[in-house]
Each structure stands twice: as structure tokens, then as C-alpha cells.
Amino acid sequence: MIEVEWIWGLIGGLIIGCGGAVYLLGNGRIMGASGIIGGLVDGTGRNAWVERVSFIAALVLAPALLIYFSGRPAETNLTDNWVLIVVAGLLVGVGTRVGNGCTSGHGVCGISRLSPRGIVATLVYIFAGAVMVVALRSMMGGL
């Protein structure tokens, strides 16, 4: 199965891109996960809160229903190191809001319109993530 994983990546990516296209052409908005939920947290997105909650509810429920009906479970393989989980969550929360975007906003939506900010942010967070993975491996002897 390993050799066909990239095909599923490509198909999944195309579906994700269609989600972004629907949001953009329909509502005139950027499908950025951190922006959509972040606006609810800090109150800057109060004006469109029903739209945001609808998006998030569908994002949570669609995979749950898919797993339920397909019978194919998904696995996150998340670390069981609580310190890592909390520190990483805080960094992702602060970083995506300060930098105004995450993998979906800067990555998918930004790069596809050749936004210099999106391209630069994506290169920077991939670089920072790669450094972190190397650091993790050298400090803990593995991921």
C-alpha cells in the first residue's frame, strides 16, 4: 500500500482544494482553519460566527461520519508526551494568529494565488518544523 499513498494524498488534496474553492467563490472568504476558529476565540470574527461554527462543525463531523459508514478507522499516532502536546498546541495557536495563517490559509490559499506573504510564511514554517523534527530526534533519540 505504501507506493500508492501519494495517490491518496493527491486525491485528498484535490478535495481539500475544492473545499477552499467553494468557500472562496461562494462566501468570498479564505478557507484558513486558524483564521476561522481564531476569529471565534478572540472575538474578531463575531460578525460571522454562525458561518464559522458551521464550517468547524462540518470539519469535525464529516470525517467522523466517513469513518462510521466506511468502517475504516483513522489514527493520529499523536505522541503521549503531555508536555510536548501542550507546548506544541500553544505554539501553533500563538504562531498561526500572530502570523495570520496556517497550512490551509498561507499554504493552500496563499500559494495558489501566488501571494508573496503566503509563499514566504509556508517556507518559514516548513523550515522551522523540519528543524524541530531534527532537534526532536537528536534529543529524544526518535520521534
Binding site: 478535495i15 475544492c18 478507522p73 499523536l78 506544541a88 505554539l91 500563538v94
Partner: protein, 140 residues
Amino acid sequence: MRNMIAVLSGALFGIGLYIADMTNTVKVQGFLDFFGSWDPTLAFVMGGAIIPMAVAWALTRNRKPLIGGEFPARPEAKFDRRLIVGAILFGMGWGLVGLCPGPALASLSYGGIGGLVFLVAMLSGMLIAPKVSALLDSKP
């Protein structure tokens, strides 16, 4: 209408993440592991997602969104401290455990307690982010 579009979009996003196995932190950290056994899947996901989005951006020319209003203006190519520091902090957290905001939400139903703790920490981070932004702006 607007909320139905948000539901459709969120559902497609979640289904795509599930099919591409992007809520699997091993796949994400494997992509970031350029000096180990590199896993290119995430690059295919990004590439795949960019194709319909590029078409969508092309279609925004001389048009209006379905629900009315305006399409988001093209942001200035301004690489301020917020963008760079924010991207570095985000990338560090992303590399540490292999989760970013979209997959953290999409995996909520099967991510266990760990996934929930990550989400709560992420929302807390988002709550203190405006203070961090203000701090960055205050430095000369």
C-alpha cells in the same frame, strides 16, 4: 445560503484530510523529516489542493462572491515581524507533534484525550496571540 456553503466547504476539507491521511502525525512529521526517511505525501496533498484553488482564484476575476460582497483583496507583499515570527512559532509547534489547526479539528472525533488537550492548548494560544502581536509591534 452562506452557512450551507460553509458546511459544504468544511465537510470537503475534513473528508480530504481524512482521505489523504493528513490527521496522521507520523505522515506530517515524516514530511518534515528531510534528513531522515522523507515522506512526500504532504507535498502531493498541498499540490493537489493548490490546483482547484488556483482555478478558483482565476474565476474571481471580474466577478463577485455568490453571496455578494467582494473577494478578499490581494495582500501587500509586506514581510513584517508578525508574519515571520508567527510562522516560526507555528512551524515549531507543527514539527513537535505533527498537528496543525485543520487536522486538529478534523481528528477531534478519534484523536483521543491527547488531541483534545492539543486543541485546548491551541485555543489558549490563540487567546494570548494578540498580546504577543502587540509585544512584537512595540519593539523598535
